[in-house]
């Protein structure tokens, strides 16, 4: 399970409250029916009595102890065994200060798990790493977590980290959970514009008018028109994932019925095996050969045309009344997945 959200959303506060490092004004934390915190019943176990392993953002290894002494501090399983399990047995006598980021993370995990906790908490496990080691460590961590088979709650500001490391993802903003689901569900059916933008969508604003066929035409503030398969009227936020955007050098035929955005092309930015390019107010992510087909047009400031299939255009209310119900219950057209109803912030569970 991952908790993702922007900085200041309250992610770390949640972890600290679960671990008992921080009190709460109200609420409860329970594990298998054992209350750790229950403000109503005045229960608040100190951290040392909660069966929890917490890996801190900067790993918080004790700098004055060897790696082995760090693990031994937990008075749990044999440090040598724990370190060997995480592939860092040879570092037992090293000082934390001499380790690389990935090594520190493994030592921190070995230390956090030495007490056989029932829950593992990871606070921004990848934030302390350089960009070039990040992807490697992320995959290593994914494999480790898979082997451990212990309930894990990790906190991150990076949706991609959460998508790789967690089966379920909860998006938290301003201390409230906006949406919970698998990473795929969040991408295909975001509950609101924020969740959509967090999963990588470009969010733009516009004014929607119903097209009489159950859909809507949206005139974007920044120019261009998109058609959506959902009905809406009035001011809306429009979320479009870059990989749903088609880019052409020639304007599409008017008979297509889809909206189009004409805009000067931005620079082509390689991203993995794909290429990103800005067209007007949208960002498109293309296969490398599709980008090559655009020829020299992109980057030269020439005009390109972006189109998006109506069912891939997601509308969110500026004012909740603007998007007609059941616009929030979106069926994933590609996977044929059952409708995923998202809960709005503030609604009862």
């Amino acid at each position: 399970m991952a908790l993702v959200g922007p900085s200041g959303a309250g992610k770390t506060t949640v972890l600290r409250t679960i671990a008992g490092l921080r009190g709460a004004d109200g609420g409860h934390v329970r594990l298998d029916g054992t209350p750790w915190l229950d403000t109503a019943a005045r229960v608040d176990l100190p951290p040392e009595r909660r069966s929890v392993g917490l890996v801190f953002q900067e790993y918080a290894l004790f700098p004055h102890m060897t790696v082995a002494a760090n693990v031994a501090f937990a008075h749990g399983d044999d440090p040598a065994t724990m370190l060997a399990r995480f592939g860092v047995g040879h570092l037992a006598d090293a000082r934390p200060g001499t380790l690389s980021g990935g090594e520190r993370q493994r030592v921190a995990l070995a230390r956090a798990l030495a007490r056989d906790p029932q829950v593992l908490l990871l606070d921004e496990p990848l934030a302390a790493l350089d960009t070039h080691t990040r992807a490697t460590v992320r995959d290593e961590l994914d494999a480790l977590l898979g082997d451990l088979g212990i309930p894990t709650l990790l906190v991150t500001h990076d949706f991609r980290d959460a998508a790789v490391l967690a089966d379920r993802v909860a998006v938290i903003v301003d201390g409230r959970i906006r949406q919970t689901g698998t990473a795929a569900e969040l991408v295909s059916a975001p509950a609101d514009a924020f969740v959509a933008s967090f999963t990588g969508a470009t969010v733009v604003r516009g004014v929607a008018t119903p097209d009489g066929r159950g859909g809507a035409r949206v005139a974007l503030d920044d120019g261009g028109v998109l058609t959506a398969a959902t009905a809406a009227a009035g001011r809306v936020s429009v979320a479009v994932h870059p990989w749903d955007v088609r880019v052409t050098t020639d304007p599409p035929r008017p008979g297509d019925g889809g909206g189009v955005i004409a805009g000067s092309a931005g620079r082509l930015v390689p991203e993995g095996g794909r290429v990103r390019v800005r067209v007007g107010c949208l960002v498109a992510e293309l296969e490398a050969d599709a980008a090559a087909a655009l020829g020299g047009a992109a980057g030269a400031g020439e005009t390109l045309y972006a189109t998006v299939a109506p069912e891939r255009v997601r509308l969110f209310a500026h004012d909740p009344a603007a998007v007609a119900t059941p616009a929030r219950t979106v069926t994933d057209p590609s996977g044929g997945r059952p409708a995923f109803a998202a809960r709005r912030p503030g609604e009862p569970a």
Partner: protein
């Protein structure tokens, strides 16, 4: 051409200052009949003063460390209303003239003083006893330790103490195994300053404890008394105190270098061949 005038001025100021600071020390060693120092220092008065100084400072330093360390940890990690006021109060003796400190102690513990009456009823008379020296030294020297100790504890990364708690350590074990070792350098620095201040204590002691041979006369008070009777003895005691002070400073500097290069906890199990440095 680069302007050299200002640099020359700095060098000159530095030279003048250095000469001014070194001169009294040089004079101490040149004016003292060094061959006579062993004889002068083994005179009965000096030996008594040495014993008094050692005894009182030992107790005072134990009190300062014993009460000061937990107090500093408390002040460094707790936030409460009036904390700034408490810290200021703790630091006040630093700027208080020692004679004022002595008068204050008399007003508190002397006969007819704030606590003097009840203490006298209980059969305890403090002024002009060895305990008065202990109290005077503790009063003037403790802020040196407390100030350093508070900032040393404040510099301990709170996520490390949090980590210790989530690893099952009680607050006491967290303090002893994590906070204390990490703050050790700062604590030692504070203790050295407090020790030096205590050895050199004069003003508060002479006001509150007087200058009683074999009871309250410390080395600094002995220097003061010997000025009139035997200047050579005063010089010899001074040389002794210079050596003690220099030794204190040197051991502190060595200590602070040493603590970065050694372990404060033994490896939990036998060494395994290490492939990385």
């Amino acid at each position: 051409m680069r302007p050299r005038g200002f640099v020359a001025l700095q060098a000159l100021a530095c030279g003048v200052l250095l000469a001014f600071l070194a001169l009294p020390l040089v004079a101490l060693f040149t004016e003292t009949p060094l061959g006579d120092v062993p004889r002068l220092l083994t005179s009965r008065d000096v030996v008594n003063a040495l014993k008094t100084t050692a005894r009182t400072n030992l107790i005072a330093n134990a009190l300062i460390l014993g009460f000061g360390t937990p107090a500093a940890w408390f002040l460094a990690t707790r936030r409460f209303r009036g904390r700034a006021l408490v810290v200021t109060l703790v630091e006040l003796p630093l700027v208080l003239p020692p004679a004022v400190a002595g008068i204050g102690l008399l007003a508190a513990f002397g006969a007819g003083g704030l606590l003097g009456g009840p203490l006298q009823d209980a059969g305890i008379v403090l002024p002009f006893t060895e305990w008065a020296v202990v109290i005077a030294v503790t009063f003037v020297a403790s802020p040196f330790y407390l100030r350093q100790a508070i900032s040393a504890f404040e510099a301990v990364d709170p996520t490390l103490t949090d980590a210790a708690r989530t690893l099952g350590a009680s607050p006491a074990r967290t303090f002893l195994r994590v906070a204390l070792p990490l703050a050790a350098g700062g604590l030692a620095a504070g203790w050295v300053l407090a020790f030096a201040r205590g050895i050199g204590e004069f003003g508060a002691t002479i006001v509150f404890a007087g200058n009683v041979h074999g009871e309250t006369q410390t080395l600094t008070l002995a220097i003061y008394e010997q000025l009139d009777t035997s200047f050579d003895t005063a010089l010899a005691v001074s040389v002794l105190l210079v050596v003690v002070s220099a030794g204190t400073l040197l051991s502190y500097k060595l200590l602070s270098q040493w603590r970065f290069s050694t372990s404060t906890s033994a490896p939990a199990f036998a060494r395994t061949p290490s492939t990385s440095p």
